[in-house]
Symmetry: C2
Subunit: 313 residues, 2 copies
């Protein structure tokens, strides 16, 4: 059973009928709540020893990754992360040394990511280590952004450079909180009423995550092969794997880069005024025909192969 | 290492310096946050297979207990639970049947406990099953109530009847959301400005949890042995264990009953107007001398023995 189909099942069983729930269980990584006119965003990520991190991983690294994953979910929906609650299940052999180093790493991560750790639970585990982090926050002005909402004609932009994160970048991936704040602040000031129309973070590879955004928005997309910002790691990974750097940029996950769709006039204005001050690249556009297409440098198009990381049970 | 000492350690490392954090990591089970004048309560509970539930436990029961534990934390601090996020780590052998029955049980529990499940994460576990639930909510008028705040002269009251929950009640313990709402509503109407001064839920036994409330409030307490509401299960448990029913009422955990301190005039007014309509019993009073005392039926006092369930690593 694939995680996707289980989540779909859960969603059907748990479909919330509560008016305060603007966006609940899936398809978005982040829930959006509203009560008494005030909005709240919440996202949970869980990690298991032997699945998401190796048994020898540094506890501080595990703490950073678990917190960063949820902070990235909030950034992707144009929300500011503020508070975190952390569950830690720990085997008798690992505690207490592991726990202390985890807590120290968590404190450092919280400071770096500008989140306050406000609660949690610690339990003993008969097996491996398990971490679950819930991050709470608030939409930035113009937010939240969801997976649905992309419109034909919108441009697709990504932050940073893609591919090869498993060569090391995945150990300390940086959520793009600063970048999304810069973009949303820009829109509020210079293109009032016009904000990014949809977005998510590229956790399972650009192609797979783009297909999710398009499915939820009911649109298609065209990616321009020669516009994709290739990370230096994508080139190194390609040397090792024998695959192309482009293929790594399209399919490698664990990057936390953002994929956003936005009206072309917003992008033009942003490029004109903010050129060089932010790390965004246009990589394609949204189309109306529902197909996912890769346009090669020579102008020819072919269907985009949807490869990426799907968690298996 | 005992859970208590680890949490104390964590608290020191993670001491939040954020003005929005009114109550953060410990000693309370619930975090209290405030931003733009609006208040938020959040609590997390984690359960592990083989520690908090048996491998053969019904998935729906596990779902109920994990959600109820956090809802009870909010009730104990006079907050209304509204939303939940749920992490589930599941072994390949258990999924997907286990997951579906868990989700169905969770949907039922959410309806019963009046909470909307709005998000979560599902991952594969190389070992046993783990569940982590974060519940979000808002303080009732007059809330939140913390572990600190009890004053000498305050009365101690509990909900329900105590002891012997392991005979079966612990499988479906009922958070006292309705009772705390009734009491807070009463105070708002009839004793304005006077609310319960401190409280918590009795998860690890009355004696141990009372000692926690007293420590945080910097006070002592006297319990009246012949006032403790003994559950019928406390009598049955005593027959089996050879211990006294009183001892079971003082030391058995997993009950989710509430322990509250409140000004005596609030209690008098509440008893006068609401007699019989709510399930509260006065069991003792707060004292100024820092000692914990049990007063027997014959008037003699002896030190209260602090026995209860402390999670061990």
């Amino acid at each position: 059973m694939r995680e996707n189909s289980f989540l779909a099942e859960l969603r059907e069983i748990l479909a919330p009928g509560d008016a305060s729930v603007k966006v609940g269980c899936g398809p978005d990584d982040c829930a959006h709540l509203e009560a008494d006119g005030r909005r709240l965003a919440a996202s949970t990520d869980a990690l298991a020893e032997g699945v998401h991190f190796a048994s020898g991983a540094h506890p501080g690294e595990v703490a950073y990754k678990s917190l960063a994953a949820s902070v990235s979910d909030l950034a992707a929906s144009a929300c500011r992360a503020r508070w975190a609650l952390v569950s830690l299940a720990l085997s008798r052999e690992a505690a207490p040394g592991w726990a202390i180093r985890f807590a120290e790493g968590l404190a450092g991560a919280a400071a770096e990511l500008e989140v306050a750790v406000v609660g949690g639970d610690t339990i003993s585990s008969p097996g491996g280590i398990f971490v679950s982090v819930t991050v709470l926050g608030e939409p930035l002005a113009g937010g939240p952004i969801l997976r649905r909402g992309a419109k034909p004609g919108d441009l697709l932009v990504v932050t940073g450079a893609l591919g090869g994160s498993l060569l090391g970048r995945h150990l300390h991936p940086r959520p793009r909180s600063r970048e999304i704040r810069l973009l949303m602040d820009f829109c509020r000031e210079f293109t009032p009423g016009r904000f990014p129309s949809a977005g998510l973070d590229i956790s399972d590879g650009l192609a797979l995550d783009l297909s999710r955004l398009c499915r939820e928005s009911g649109v298609g997309a065209e990616l321009y092969a020669d516009c994709l910002p290739l990370s230096p790691d994508a080139l190194k990974a390609a040397e090792k794997s024998g695959l192309s750097p482009l293929r790594h940029a399209l399919s490698d996950g664990e990057d936390f880069e953002l994929l956003l769709s936005l009206p072309p006039e917003v992008w033009e204005e942003f490029r004109r005024r903010e050129a060089g001050s932010a790390d965004f690249t246009a990589v394609g556009k949204i189309t109306g025909d529902g197909r996912l297409v890769l346009r090669e440098a020579d102008g020819r198009s072919r269907p985009l192969e949807i490869r990426g990381y799907e968690h298996q049970w």
